[in-house]
Amino acid sequence: MFNGSSMTSDEFHNSILLAASDILGFISGVGLTILVFGLTIWQYERKRPGLDRLPPPDQEQLNIAAEIVRNNIGGEEDE
């Protein structure tokens, strides 16, 4: 019923499913690589020593931070 001049419906059916297998394999392969990449980084980061606790900021550092925030946030005054 669906046979064409250059391709039968059987061939079309098989070609579509083979293309689907191809794309599925492609995506699975890339997915596995990303998983391996992530696991490698995760393993390495897990073994790194934790950051030492920093002392709380003193008044001078707080003033510098406030200055930076003032210079970058806030926008123009309403007229």
Binding site: F2, F12, G25, F26, I27, S28, T33, V36, Y44
Partner: protein
């Protein structure tokens, strides 16, 4: 004015796009899927994309290790992962091996896989590009009167 495009509408649009192909596939009941060939195709695509993506990510791992005072562990692990892919490809594409398709030699099969990978990835990229460009068609100025 156009309404906002929801993910559901995008899914419906995708299904409508695939509908003619799906109908043809579903209606050819007498056809038998060559599952062995499909499995070989899947394995070839899987191994090729795994190996090439691993090699690409090894280069990224060098960049990562540079940002972490150059430890060797991350990129050595990634190199092992890439070598594993290459080895498995070589083993399974031996003469009469599981991954051999209608190609005469191992070298021909590997080249076929590489070209297949390039063509498939280009096709996927073009499809993504077309989708993004089509989505731009729906961009429009914000309706100021609404708010």
């Amino acid at each position: 004015m156009n309404e906002r495009i929801t993910p559901l509408r995008l899914v419906i649009a995708g299904l409508l796009f695939l509908l003619p192909t799906l109908i043809l596939v579903l209606l050819s009941k007498g056809s038998v899927y060559d599952s062995e060939r499909g499995l070989i195709r899947f394995a070839n695509a899987f191994l090729t994309s795994y190996t090439l993506a691993s090699i690409f990510l090894v280069l990224n791992m060098f960049q990562y290790s540079k940002s972490r005072r150059q430890p060797t562990a991350p990129w050595v692990s990634m190199v092992f992962a890439a070598i594993l892919g290459v080895l498995v490809t070589f083993l399974l594409t031996a003469q009469g091996g599981f991954l051999m398709e209608e190609n005469g030699s191992r070298r021909a099969q590997i080249l076929y896989n590489l070209i297949h990978f390039i063509v498939s990835s280009l096709a996927i990229m073009v499809a993504i590009g077309i989708t993004v460009l089509i989505s731009f068609v729906n961009l429009e100025a914000k309706d100021e009167n609404k708010s």
